[in-house]
C-alpha cells in the first residue's frame, strides 16, 4: 500500500546523501519504524527492490528496526510497553496502577532513515 511511496522518499533521501559523497555506493540502508507507523516489512522490501532494479543501487540491503509501542500512564506517569497480546477492550492497562484511559504516546510513530553503509572507490 503506502510502502511504495515511503520507499520512493527513502531512496530520494539516500540519493541526496550519496551526492554529498561523490564516488560512493550504498550497500545497506537502515530504517527505524515505530509499531504505529504501519510499515509492512515485506511490502517495503519489495518496493525498494522494485525501485532499485537495474540502477546503481540494485541489490542494496534493507535493515529494519522496529520500535515497540511505548505509553506513559495518565494517572501515575509510569512508562510501559503494552504487551502485544490483546485481552480485548479496554486496551493497554497500566502495569503499575491499572489505569486504562488517556495514556500519552511516548514512542511508536517514528519512521526514519537511521544510517547508511557506504563503500567508496
Amino acid at each position: 500500500m503506502h510502502e511504495m511511496s515511503i520507499a520512493q522518499s527513502l531512496l530520494a533521501l539516500v540519493e541526496q546523501e550519496l551526492q554529498l559523497r561523490p564516488g560512493s555506493r550504498c550497500t545497506v540502508i537502515r530504517v527505524t519504524h515505530g509499531a504505529l507507523a504501519n510499515l509492512v516489512p515485506e511490502a517495503f522490501e519489495l518496493a525498494v527492490e522494485a525501485l532499485t532494479i537495474g540502477g546503481p543501487m540494485q541489490g542494496v540491503r534493507l535493515e529494519l528496526r522496529l520500535l515497540p509501542l511505548r505509553l506513559k500512564c495518565r494517572a501515575c506517569g509510569h512508562e510501559f510497553e503494552p504487551e502485544q497480546k490483546r485481552l480485548g477492550p479496554p486496551l493497554y492497562p497500566c502495569p503499575q496502577c491499572d489505569e486504562e484511559l488517556g495514556h500519552t504516546l511516548v514512542q511508536g510513530k517514528e519512521l526514519f532513515l537511521e544510517s547508511l553503509e557506504i563503500e567508496t572507490d
Partner: protein, 219 residues
Amino acid sequence: MEIPVIRNLLEANEREANTLRTRFAQAGVLVLNLISSPGSGKTSLLERTLTDLKARYRMAVIEGDCMTDNDARRVAATGAAAVQINTDGGCHLNSAMVGQALAHLDLNALDILFVENVGNMVCPVEFDVGEDAKVAILSVTEGDDKPEKYPRLFQEAKAAVINKIDLLPYVDFDVAKASAQARALNATAAILQVSCRSGEGLDSWYAWLDAALAAKRKG
C-alpha cells in the same frame, strides 16, 4: 563505512503540509481530513453537511478517489465546489496532491474545506495534508473492533463519527464497545453517533463543526 543520517522518511510530505497549514491559517479556513474504510459514508456525510449548513458556512471539498469522479459529482450536486484528485490506484492523498488541488479553490472565500481521503484506515493517517483535524468515520456494518484494529487513526482523530446507526437493530455492532475502545486510545476525541440516512445525530456533528471552527478562529 557506516554513516549516520537520521532523516524522517516523510519529511518531504511534512514540509509541504506545513506550507499548506500556513496558507490555511492565513485564510482562516478550517480543514478536516475525513478518513474511513471504503463505504463507511464519507461522501454521504459530506452531502448532508453541505446541504444542511449551506446557509451557515462557505464550504468546499477535495475528493480523493482511486479511479472515478463519482464522489466529486455527488458533492458538486449539492452546489459546493468540489475538486477531484485521482490517485491512480494510490492508497492515500499526500500534501503535494492537496497543494495542486488548491489551485482550483479560493481559500479566502471558504470557511471549511473538507478533504475526503481515499477509503482506507491505514495509509491516509501517515500523510499529513496540513489539516486541522482528522475525522475518523466508521459505520455499524463494519466490525465494532475497528478502533482496536486501527489504533493510530483513532489515536489521532479529533472526532470519531459512528455512522449508519439507523441499521443498529439489524447488526450486532456494539456501540458501547467501539466507543470504549476509541476512548481508551484518545481521551479527548468527540465520539458522535449519526445516521446520514435518517439524519439522526447529525446535530451533534454540526455542533462539533461549529466548535472546531470557532476554536480555529480564536487561534
